[in-house]
């Protein structure tokens, strides 16, 4: 008989997903399914609306990363309206975006990802939260988290025109310049962010890297996948979160593809499974070979870890030092003329902190750039080119918006690949791997064990409410669950 173990709802994960683990007769994991509620009808919702509304509609898909949707949308509109923004406008966008990255990565580390390490994977769930982190690291850390969020939200509000959902992005630029008084305040915030990022990296070093048990956990094969990686790089192949070319490296670290996001359809295709409406993007030239590791499988990963694997380095000095330390710590070695990738998925938490430092340092560079207070922030569009693709690196992976507008400027087609969607296949693989390694021969499932399975997907910080946005509204939902012999155990149906 097949036993079913359910964890429902997933704590601390957007969208109240559900994991079903199926055991075989010997009590070993036969398979796992990761399911989330599906949101429907986003494309239909967009069709017929004025294209210039998209940055303010798409940033409401999700309350967590509206800034990322706003940026990807305005960048797509720059192309829809054939209006390349003035340099100062691009810098203001990027400045806001760095403040957003600082607050988002901070919150993830202290509230979501960090507790697993700082308090421990076997601690009771009631203690594995930000309060537990403060008990361990000190009250000052909690105050710093609050202060960090507060000053960066303030920067986002100043630059974006509104506290949570920015509205200042326009095709061809930004709606208002930065005053000198604002610039001074933002510069001070950036300096405080750098100090805070360094503090966070020190905490990680002391609590995680200096603890042999955690290092062993990070390096164990439970949390290891050798896949392709995707991220955005600048002209020198350095990490860029706001703009650049999409770069893909293979599991050995060799460059596999480097392209303008407008060409995404030539590189990425989407696989569908009968048991979920989640789509599983994969590399077209490799092909879909199932939920498998390796160079022969088109599965790729797009996360902070992926970005540090595709980048040849970081453009800011302190983050670059950490980047080198990161690769040395995992002895990634050299191959194909560059560093080989780090495949340990739990290292994503460290990678996230390195990006936090990079974002803080780059925020200071932008805040002290003489051009940042330039009044030239808008190029007024004078025609409709019709089609546009824009992308940014969202905290959770490469985010792409693709719009087609008619000659009245109304949306005819909208397609989004959000950060989490890129990672659907690797998330499913990580859950299955963790379950297989940790549940054996009917061993009793205890909380610590289940948490280690949750850790497998929490490291991706999946944002499922917006990852399921683009589903066709007309199709009924049928979720089928089968046992090892292929017999249908359960069907959940919802007519569209």
């Amino acid at each position: 008989m097949t036993q079913r173990i359910s964890i429902n709802p997933i704590t601390r994960l957007e969208g109240h997903g559900k994991i079903d683990i199926f055991l075989d007769q010997e009590g070993n994991v036969a398979n796992t399914y990761f399911q989330v509620p599906e949101l429907r009808g986003f494309e239909q919702f967009c069709v017929g609306r004025p294209a210039e509304d998209m940055p303010n509609i798409t940033n409401r898909i999700c309350g967590v990363c509206p800034e990322a949707h706003h940026m990807a949308a305005v960048k797509a509109l720059d192309r829809v309206f054939a209006a390349d923004p003035p340099s100062a406008a691009k810098k203001i966008r990027e400045l806001l975006y760095m403040a957003f990255f600082v607050t988002d990565h901070t919150t993830h580390f202290y509230a979501l990802g960090g507790p697993d390490f700082i308090i421990g994977p076997d601690a009771p769930p009631a203690e594995r939260n930000i309060l537990g982190v403060i008990r361990k690291v000190g009250l000052d850390a909690g105050k710093q988290v609050i202060a960090c969020r507060s000053r960066n939200h303030h920067v986002i509000q100043k630059l974006g025109g509104r506290a949570i959902h920015p509205i200042a992005g326009l095709p061809g630029g930004w709606s208002k310049p930065v005053s000198e008084a604002e610039r001074i305040e933002i510069e001070a915030a950036a300096r405080a962010n750098i100090e805070f990022a360094l503090f966070s990296l020190k905490v990680f070093d002391a609590v995680v890297l200096k603890n042999p048990a955690y290092l062993k956990l990070i390096e164990s094969d439970v949390y290891l996948h050798r896949t392709y990686y995707m991220g955005t790089v600048d002209e020198n192949n350095k990490l860029n979160l706001y703009d650049g070319k999409i770069r893909v490296v293979d599991p050995e670290g060799a460059e596999f593809a480097r392209y303008d996001v407008a060409d995404y359809a030539a590189h990425v295709a989407e696989h569908v499974e009968p048991w979920t409406y989640l789509k599983f993007p994969f590399l077209k030239r490799v092909g879909w070979k199932g939920f498998e590791d390796g160079a022969d499988s088109g599965v790729y990963c797009a996360t902070p870890l992926a970005r540090l694997n595709v980048a040849d380095g970081l453009t800011t000095p302190l983050a670059q030092e950490e980047f080198e330390k990161f690769h040395e710590a995992f002895r990634s070695g050299q191959g194909n003329g560059r560093r080989k990738p780090v495949h340990h998925r739990l290292a994503t938490h460290w990678a996230r902190l390195i990006e936090l430092l990079y974002a803080a340092e780059h925020m200071l560079e932008l805040a002290t750039d003489p051009e940042i207070t330039s009044p030239e922030v808008r190029r007024i569009p004078d025609r409709i080119a019709g089609e546009g693709v824009g992308s940014v690196e969202a905290p959770r992976g490469t985010l792409m918006h693709h719009y087609r507008a008619n000659q009245q400027g109304l949306i005819e087609k909208a397609n989004l690949i959000v950060g989490t969607t890129n990672n659907h296949a690797v998330i499913a693989m990580s859950i299955r791997r963790a379950a297989q390694k940790l549940i054996r021969a009917g061993q009793i499932v205890e909380e610590g064990l289940l948490n280690r399975i949750e850790m497998a997907f929490r490291l991706y910080d999946p944002c499922l409410s917006c990852a399921t946005h683009a589903l066709p509204g007309s199709m009924p939902l049928v979720v089928s669950i089968r046992d090892h012999a292929g017999s249908l155990l359960r069907t959940v149906r919802r007519d569209g």
């Binding site: 601390r12 994960l13 949101l39 309350g63 967590v64 930000i130 105050k143 609050i146 939200h153």
Partner: protein
Amino acid sequence: MRTIVIGIGNPVLCDDSVGLEIVRRLRKELPESDDVATTELYAGGIRLMEAMVGYDEAILVDAIQTENGRPGAIYALDLADVAQTRNICSTHDGSLAVALDLGRITGLAIPPRISIWAVEAADVETFSEAMTAAVAAAVPEVVDRIIAQLQTGSFLYQEIRHENSSLFL
């Protein structure tokens, strides 16, 4: 005595927007006053805690889904009652209870009084700016009850919870 009324939800996700809509109507119907502020939020958890800092009282308005709930049913809850409305927790940073404790221990002025109005949602999975009819129909009553709460200072949650006791888990 300063009160903030916070509507929470996603404005383009059908019935999930009911809390936001109630706060928008409330803003129109309330007399201008320095004592009552209103705001709309799209995420809970720490963000929600931060929004209520410095007020003496917070009134939260959100959608909820309960087992066998009747769409449009109104619930008046306090923090001890509420396990999960739709949006007061953020699964990206944690529960409201943890967020409130975080605020308190780091020295923020968390309101001593927090009450929650929730409306049973029918559809929170379809992108739409319009709510379903039953949920939209509940909006005026919640607006009236919040105005009464603001005027009398008393929150009659037990009475209303009793009305809906068969619906509330």
